[in-house]
């Protein structure tokens, strides 16, 4: 009996899902830990900066998990991911120009830089779903 490639290779998908979940868990634990340390310790500025860098450090794990999953895809699927990332970058660029000037000049609420990342991740997720749907079987 020959092994058949499905639309999605479930064994790979499961593996990359598990890996992402583990890194996400590590991220949440580290972020929560450093947040509670920040609240309870009222640390000095240097320590506050260090604590603030912990989530970023943990996020590198999530990025790594993503890169590993992309590496397991074939060249066409990888290209879809690249396209989705480019679309996300473009959306983020224009959304930040539009909203950036609205918050500067038109009194719209000032958003933290975090929103740029949220828009980028959101646009990427949407783009990858749409691209996969366009090349559905």
């Amino acid at each position: 009996m020959k092994k058949q490639f499905q639309t999605i290779d479930w064994s790979k998908a499961k593996r990359s899902f598990r890996r992402t979940a583990i890194y996400l868990g590590i991220y949440l634990i580290l972020t929560f830990a450093s947040a509670s340390m920040l609240v309870t310790l009222h640390p000095s500025r240097a320590l506050a900066i260090t604590l603030a860098l912990v989530p970023a450090f943990a996020a590198i794990g999530i990025v790594r998990a993503y890169l590993l999953s992309v590496r397991e895809l074939d060249e066409f699927q990888r290209r879809l991911h690249y396209e989705a990332i480019l679309i996300a970058a473009a959306v983020t660029a224009f959304a930040s120009v539009a909203y950036g000037f609205l918050e500067l000049w038109a009194g719209f609420p000032r958003l933290p830089a975090f929103f740029a990342m949220l828009v980028m991740v959101g646009a990427f997720s949407l783009a990858i779903v749409v691209l996969n749907w366009r090349h559905r079987l």
Binding site: A52, P55, I85, L86, A93, F94, A113, A116
Partner: protein
């Protein structure tokens, strides 16, 4: 990003010249629109109604879209390798800005770093794209 001297076929040289020209125009328009909008909103004896302020605040999108169109035209004139370098440069840029804003937002919230205006995201993307182009191009030399 820039044209290499000498070793380009005439068509590519022409495309690269048109790109630099149109990009420079778009950049000048961008700066002009931003200064014009600030003047109109902040430094006029009258004050605009809110809806007009919103429209004026959205005008910098026009030169930004001009830049994108110019860039897309240039991208289409490139060969396969050029396009690939560009793709990789944008991946680096998106990754750097994504991780960068993420990191900085925690520094903002927890270590009371100064808030960064969202308008700087666009220049940051372009800066890291330039840097990325430089790095990736070096790898294919």
């Amino acid at each position: 990003m820039t044209c290499e001297p000498g070793d380009l076929p005439p068509k590519a040289k022409q495309a690269s010249r048109a790109y630099i020209r149109d990009m420079a125009i778009a950049a000048v328009v961008y700066v002009g629109v931003v200064f014009g909008a600030v003047t109109l909103i902040r430094h006029m004896p009258f004050s605009l109604p809110q809806w007009a302020v919103v429209i004026v605040a959205l005008t910098p999108l026009i030169p930004a879209l001009m830049m994108m169109r110019t860039y897309m035209t240039y991208l289409r004139s490139m060969d396969e390798l050029g396009r690939r370098i560009q793709t990789e440069a944008w991946l680096i840029s998106a990754g750097a800005v994504g991780l960068g804003t993420f990191t900085y937002s925690f520094l903002e919230e927890w270590a009371h770093f100064p808030r960064i205006d969202l308008v700087w995201i666009f220049p940051a993307l372009i800066f890291f794209w330039g840097l990325g182009t430089f790095i990736v191009r070096g790898r294919y030399k």
